[in-house]
């Protein structure tokens, strides 16, 4: 058995990842065999029988499902996730092209979530009363407003009415950092409302629990300044919960981008999913799902490692 607990955490995560990827990829093949409409009808609306047979053969659809899956799996292990039915583009190339867009939406959102969410949670825990109630009601609003609708409202005001920010479109960071930032402000605001609300509420709860604990009472009794008690001692104890919540929110954000990318016409993985789903482009949706699953495994791994950093009990026991 592995001695080092950190290594053990990593190994356990990866153990779970293998069956997970297997299930995720097998599932779509299984479902496609149950599909009511044949993908060939979509691709060749008025084709001759000979053309059907040729296309089916080219796409490998004339083989039994398990052979199709085996074929896919062997290629996937070699890094080839297949090609799009509709555009003929390689799925891997599509992911490589679109993932940076999604990242440039998700990364600032995560930063905003931690800064604003944790900040508001801590402030309301320390000050309590009215600020706490305000955060509670903002949380409810954050839950209730769908991101794509918030996006639409933001566009109608900041882009259409006062022409402050661009309504749609994506400028890559490498191309022009300033324009990139301008193009990302509204999408990030729309996407971050919910994660900020969740983070603020959970951080507040966690801080309240820590501030009621015996070791904080003893810190007061030791004359430790409030600044140190709140922001150095208690915040580190509460950060475990923030990290857990943060990990779950990042996972939610990955797919949450699909609606916001559509509102702002951002060519990321989310809008790739949307386009592929509406044209029945199974290799693309499947490839993106497998890719997302790998990203989720990585995020969970990062969360586990952060636990080990933040809590000595995880590290040494």
């Amino acid at each position: 058995m592995v001695r080092n607990p950190v290594v053990r955490v990593v190994v356990r995560r990866l153990y779970l990842a293998v069956p997970l990827l297997f299930v995720v990829s097998a599932l779509s093949f299984l479902l496609s065999s149950l599909a009511p409409t044949n993908v060939l009808d979509v691709l060749l609306p008025n084709g001759s029988p000979a053309q059907y047979v040729a296309l089916a053969h080219r796409l490998g659809l004339d083989q039994p499902v398990y052979e199709q899956y085996w074929h896919w799996l062997v290629h996937a292990l070699g890094g080839n996730l297949g090609t799009s039915y509709t555009t003929g583009q390689g799925v891997k190339a599509l992911i490589v092209q679109r993932f940076p867009v999604t990242l440039s939406l998700v990364v600032p959102t995560v930063v905003v979530m931690f800064l604003v969410g944790v900040g508001a949670g801590v402030v309301s825990a320390v000050h309590g009363g009215a600020v706490g109630r305000l955060i509670d009601s903002l949380t409810l609003v954050g839950f209730a407003l769908p991101a794509f609708w918030v996006g639409a409202v933001l566009v109608s005001f900041f882009a259409v009415k006062i022409h402050l920010l661009p309504a749609i479109g994506y400028v890559s960071l490498a191309q022009s950092p300033g324009d990139w930032a301008r193009s990302m402000v509204l999408p990030v605001v729309a996407l971050s409302l919910l994660p900020i609300a969740v983070m603020a509420r959970q951080t507040r709860e966690a801080m309240m629990d820590v501030l009621a604990s015996e070791h904080v009472r003893m810190a007061w009794a030791n004359g430790i300044p409030p600044r140190v008690i709140f922001f150095k001692l208690a915040l580190k104890n509460a950060s475990m919960r923030a990290v857990t919540v943060g990990g779950l929110q990042v996972i939610g954000l990955l797919t949450g981008t699909v609606f916001v990318e559509q509102v702002f016409s951002l060519p990321g993985l989310g809008s790739g999913l949307d386009t592929a789903a509406s044209t029945g482009d199974l290799p693309v949706t499947q490839g993106i799902v497998v890719f997302f699953t790998v990203v989720i495994v990585a995020i969970n791994l990062i969360v586990d490692l952060l636990y080990a950093v933040l809590d000595p009990r995880v590290r040494t026991s």
């Binding site: 604990s213 070791h215 003893m218 009794a221 300044p225 990955l254 609606f259 999913l273």
Partner: protein, 656 residues
């Protein structure tokens, strides 16, 4: 049944009880305005979802309305205006309610249909079943949920049923987890065991006795998932993936509005407001049901201790000038009164006075709930919850701590008055190394550099006789034993070189051998550093070991003060006497330990007159009528008893 197994079913007949409970749940909800408003709104939405498509059957297939009247704002003819094809927005909103709510219903039903049985099974059967379901749950939770919905929609194009069923499946592991953890405690209850012994089938027990108890939890989950499903359904409809045009849906209407945004920004508002209000209604309903069921559980089960923040409290009294000290006491507590509750409604400490000279050890003795700890904590103004000093003075070294500004008091805490507590293991912060925490205290009091503070921390650890202090400094609190942790806590209290150490039950949580070592250490520190100690305890043995004098407290009051020897020889308060007699150290082997009948009355329920009279065998009518003042029966002795001379006679005859 109950006579055979010898236990009573807790809830009478659970099947009947559950019907009553559901009815009362509803009645309790009706008392909450937020719940009523939510339920009314949701009822309207459901009625509209059913009725609107029947009233306006043509709307679902209408491709264009009045093409000369497109993108108009609200008017009498079209209350919510018209869309880019000239169709009436209000009609589309009402008719579109059906497909929206249908999608929500599909997802919620699926998630509950999977999650509730799975959670019940895992919680009820436990063991291997539980582990297998737990693994499946973990697996499903690691899926990129919404992306899976897109895969399914690319296989079943335009199928809302397929999409929402998939969403339901994706959400079900959360339900499984919550239902499982709600089932676990119920499974342990006696009437379940009784039902099993009575030979009822497992499925019957699960459905009748367990499911009926978690109805509240299931409703809360249903409401949360309805909100989630609504946001997802409208999003998918906005993307045009689940509702075939021209049929209206709330999400689709937002999409129409976005397409027309540059010409008419009004169109995104009606569907947006409908969505938001409905999600809020689900959220508020869920919160209300949770609160109502939690109310009910807290009545039946153990009362959850309210979360109280131990925080510094503001000084209550405006500072009167402190007169030059009459005695040379280091600490003089005069008529200290502490109250809890809003506006200080409940007194917990009543008119407490005592003093401690420099280098002296004084024991504060009494049963649990007498106010010893509150008295000790109020000296440095660290009261739990809404506790407040409402009267009296705490003169320490020429200053009144009861009304010292918080900022100055902070300089007293730790550096002039130290504290060690009952639970050494939890008194240190689990996330930081022991050495770092000690160094933090050192730096706070001395302003030393990091390196010097660390060296001083190691030195402090050595001074409390910890072997290998360098190594201990690098440890985390969970790597210490209880005795080591208490030594570390004492070392930390010494960091500021206090003149007074408050030791609140410092040995209670420790093994007997370790107790003796810690007491020896405290005695040594008192001797060598000339440090005064206020020892809070219920253990006369500990008092005898360490203290010069004792202050006995009962129900918020000081009942006796005396030097230790005369107190032990001749207690002048019936409570002190009873407490001494019931001490296990005094009992002879084989003797039954005498005990004091009754219990300490809770604050707010103190009897009139002498607080001890209901438990006192000397009580007379005079004891019940008016408060008893402290009397001075002898030099340096005080007792709050008018019958102390009767007690005096008794001692002579009884004790020996």
């Amino acid at each position: 049944m109950s006579t055979i197994v010898g236990i009573e079913p807790v809830d009478g007949t659970p099947a009947v009880a559950s019907t009553i409970e559901s009815a009362s749940l509803f009645r309790r909800l009706l008392r909450r305005p937020a719940a009523v408003v939510s339920m009314v709104w949701l009822a309207i939405v459901v009625v509209v979802a059913i009725a609107a498509p029947i009233i306006w059957p043509h709307v679902a297939t209408q491709n264009a309305g009045d093409i000369f009247d497109v993108l108009k704002g609200p008017s009498w003819q079209h209350l919510l205006g018209t869309d880019s094809d000239g169709r009436d927005v209000l009609q589309r909103l009402l008719v579109g309610t059906r497909v929206t709510m249908l999608g929500v219903a599909e997802a919620v039903l699926v998630t509950l249909a999977i999650g509730v049985p799975a959670g019940l099974t895992a919680g009820y059967f436990g063991g291997r079943t539980d582990r297998a379901l737990g693994w499946l749950t973990d697996l499903t939770l690691s899926l990129p949920g919404l992306a899976v919905v897109f895969v399914v929609l690319s296989i079943f194009p335009d199928s809302m049923l397929a999409g929402m069923v998939t969403l339901g499946v994706i959400l079900s592991p959360y339900t499984t987890r919550v239902v499982r953890s709600a089932t676990l405690p119920i499974r342990e209850e006696l009437y379940i065991a009784a039902a099993q012994v009575a030979g009822l089938s497992r499925s019957y027990i699960i459905v009748r006795h367990v499911l009926s108890r978690i109805v509240g939890v299931v409703i809360v989950l249903g409401a949360i998932y309805a909100a989630t499903a609504l946001v997802t359904q409208t999003g998918l409809a906005y993307l045009g993936l689940i509702v075939r045009l021209p049929a209206p849906s709330w999400g689709g209407m937002v999409g129409d509005g976005i397409a027309a945004l540059t010409n008419q920004s009004w169109l995104i508002w009606p569907p947006g407001i409908a969505m938001t209000l409905t999600v809020v209604a689900f959220g508020l309903l869920g919160d209300s049901v949770r609160d109502v069921t939690a109310e009910r559980w807290s009545v039946a089960s153990v009362q959850r201790p309210s979360r109280r923040l131990a925080r510094p409290v503001a000084g209550a009294v405006v500072a009167p000038p402190v007169p030059a000290s009459a005695t040379d006491a280091l600490l003089r507590v005069e008529n200290l009164t502490v109250a809890f509750g809003s506006k200080g409604s409940v007194r917990v400490i009543d008119d407490v006075s005592f003093d401690i000279s420099a280098g002296e050890a004084v024991g504060l003795v009494g049963e649990s709930g007498c106010g010893k700890t509150v008295t000790a904590m109020s000296l440095i103004r660290l009261l739990p919850g809404d506790g407040e000093i409402v009267g009296g003075r705490i003169v320490f070294d020429g200053r009144d701590l009861a009304c010292l500004p918080e900022k100055e008091l902070r300089r007293v805490r730790g550096s002039e008055i130290g504290l060690i507590s009952q639970e050494p293991m939890v008194s240190l912060n689990p996330a930081f190394r022991v050495g770092w925490q000690l160094a933090l205290s050192v730096r706070t009091h001395d302003g030393l550099s990091r390196r010097a503070a660390h060296a001083r921390a190691v030195e402090l650890l050595r001074s409390v006789h910890l072997p290998d202090p360098e190594l201990v400094a690098r440890r985390y609190p969970h790597e210490l034993s209880g005795g080591m942790a208490q030594r570390v806590a004492i070392a930390r209290a010494l960091a500021g070189e206090p003149k007074l150490l408050i030791a609140d039950e410092p040995t209670t949580a420790l093994d007997v051998t370790v107790q003796a070592e810690i007491l020896e250490l405290l005695r040594e520190l008192q001797r060598e550093r000339g440090m005064a100690i206020l020892l809070v305890t219920h253990d006369w043995g500990v008092v005898a070991d360490l203290c010069d004098r004792a202050v006995v407290m009962y129900a918020g009051q000081v009942v006796e003060r005396a030097a230790l020897t005369p107190l032990f020889r001749e207690p002048l308060h019936p409570y002190t006497r009873a407490l001494l007699l019931s001490d296990p150290h005094n009992a002879l082997g084989g003797d039954e330990l005498p005990w004091i009948p009754g219990g300490v009355p809770k604050p707010g329920f103190w009897p009139q007159g002498c607080h001890f009279h209901p438990r006192c065998r000397y009580a007379t009518e005079a004891c019940r009528q008016r408060p008893i003042p402290l009397e001075h029966p002898a030099d340096a002795r005080q007792t709050r008893c008018i019958h102390h001379d009767r007690l005096h006679h008794d001692q002579l005859s009884v004790v020996q």
